[in-house]
Amino acid sequence: MLQTAFNGVVSGVIMTLPALAVTLLFGVLKFPNFAIGAMMTCAAYLVFALNAQLGWPLSVSTALIALAFGGVCILIDQVTFKPLRGRGAITLMVASLGLGFILENVARFGYGNTARSFAIELARPFRFLDIRMNREQMITLAISAAAMLAMWFLLTRTPVGRAMRAVADNPQLALVRGIEAERIIRWTWFITGMLLAVGGVLIGMDRALEPPMGSNYLVSVFGAAILGGLGSPLGAGIGALLIGVASELSTLVMPPNYRIGIPLAAIALVLVFRPQGLFGQPYIRK
């Protein structure tokens, strides 16, 4: 039971980075981006190329790819989403779906359907308070905690972060105050790209690298972001933890294949009873 709860915490923590990405993107761009799963897949394969094929250490490869992938995301946004801005959420969602298909299959084209794993030496799991933990889980916890802190610092203590929140809150007002929305969108994509790259590596470390690895997390990640309240970074983190623990505990009473039912049920319940999520602002239709 305790072990299951711990595993749940870890699998929830894995989702914090993509959930943060979803919530940031939704805040600034105002549509749920369905390509984030495939983006994580692509980034993970890029890291795989450096790490397993060129033999670089995983940490160095991840850091490099995270920076580069931030740039890639800006580029992708300029090509696909920029021409569609202002066309309404549905159009953008369908475009993001198409983008997801493209990216996932670019990865499939490059590496096929075979599952792969990073080149990391195996380490013995160790025990603490009767809970078995392995090194990958500890790395996941540490990196996610660091990323949450960094995001908190970025959003509350830096000009870019404040500008991002301003654009998310009220784009017109932000524009009046001299904040250029396009510049903030580029920043948002850069940060999102880094979050997704690291998130992709964490997923790849937890399971294996295969083309659907990112999109398999899509419903859970959206569940986490909606449960916490779309647009709320703190909510995304807590939502991810709750979904992770609940999904893992659910395997005690129902078949593990249907873990995805937990985030889905969470979304349905939140939408019916508390549409703004646990930490979100009530939505006021303007």
Partner: protein, 308 residues
């Protein structure tokens, strides 16, 4: 070659029914359905299981499949009870579709899991001689496609059709005019669902064998592409879009003969990449599609001239 064309025409027919269903839900009603592949799976499996396990004949199995998918869609639409934003609904449909796909893959006792269901009988296959059967199936598919088109056309031009379009444009205005938004949404999604069930049944009859890999997300990609290419809301456009997309898809199978170093995984990947790129290009450069929605129009210039 002729038989290849006949077989492809049948595929185009049930793909077009699927595109029409999506067009009704999304193009007319503004309810985006990212769980399309899951509902389509549900339709095909419901039809096959009603025949194989329920002992129903093909006609009642098809009706049953339509009812099952309609009910599933209606229940899904209920989540719009309080949140009417299309983005939340899109995520819900994605999740429901994923669960349906997992059920088909994991409930071995019912669906035989990854092995799939085999030996699905075709309608009237015991009466019609087997050498002309494909022509009968083609005729049946065309008839069902036309019937679908007719029903949806009548619906789109009925008072209910006006509510459907009003909801797409602005649900608050529709609610202000005293329309029951939730109930209308449930009906829109259920009607679309019934036709997804019909398309799924035809899929099962055509292949006589269904397994979860036939219902991957490519179904969503091509159906959305068909609807966008045809012009959102335009029924004839959805059919045309489905035909073009399916011909391209089926035609790209021959790529393998042209470029021999492509293995089947890579070929499949390329086809989906092409669809994704096409989808985005369409959205960017021709979002209105190639045909337009039917609207009641009054030519103001001639109308005023006639009056004077």
């Amino acid at each position: 070659m002729i038989s290849f064309l006949v077989l492809m025409s049948i595929v185009v027919c049930f793909s077009a029914i699927l595109a029409l269903a999506l067009n009704f839900q999304w193009g007319l009603g503004g309810m985006v359905n990212f769980g399309l592949a899951g509902f389509y799976t549900l339709g095909a499996y419901a039809c096959a299981l009603l025949i194989l396990k329920g002992g129903a004949n093909t006609f009642f199995a098809t009706l049953g499949a339509m009812a099952v998918v309609a009910i599933a869609c209606a229940l899904t639409a209920l989540v719009t009870l309080r949140v009417t934003e299309e983005d939340y609904f899109a995520i819900v449909t994605l999740g429901v579709g994923e669960v349906l796909r997992l059920v088909s893959l994991n409930e071995d006792w019912l669906t035989k899991g990854a092995l799939g269901l085999t030996g699905i009988p075709r309608p009237l296959s015991d009466v019609i001689p087997s050498d002309v059967y494909v022509y009968f199936l083609l005729g049946l598919s065309i008839a069902l496609l036309l019937a679908t088109l007719w029903v949806l056309n009548v619906l789109a031009r009925s008072p209910f059709g006006r509510i459907v379009r009003a909801l797409r444009e602005d649900d608050v205005v529709a609610a202000t005019l005293g329309k029951n938004v939730l109930w209308a949404r449930v009906r829109i999604f259920a009607i679309g669902g019934a036709f997804i069930g019909l398309a799924g049944s035809l899929h099962a009859f055509y292949y006589q064998y269904i397994d979860p890999t036939q219902f991957s997300n490519i179904v969503i990609a091509y159906a959305f592409m068909a609807v966008i290419a045809g012009g959102r809301g335009a029924h004839a456009g959805a059919i045309l879009g489905a035909a073009v997309v399916m011909v391209l898809l089926e035609g790209s199978r021959f790529l393998k003969d042209v470029i021999p170093w492509l293995d089947s995984d890579r070929l499949a990947a390329i086809r989906i990449i092409i669809i994704g790129v096409g989808l985005i290009l369409l959205l960017v450069f021709r979002p209105q599609g190639f045909l337009r929605e039917h609207r009641l129009q009054v030519d103001l210039a001639t109308a005023t001239m006639r009056r004077s």
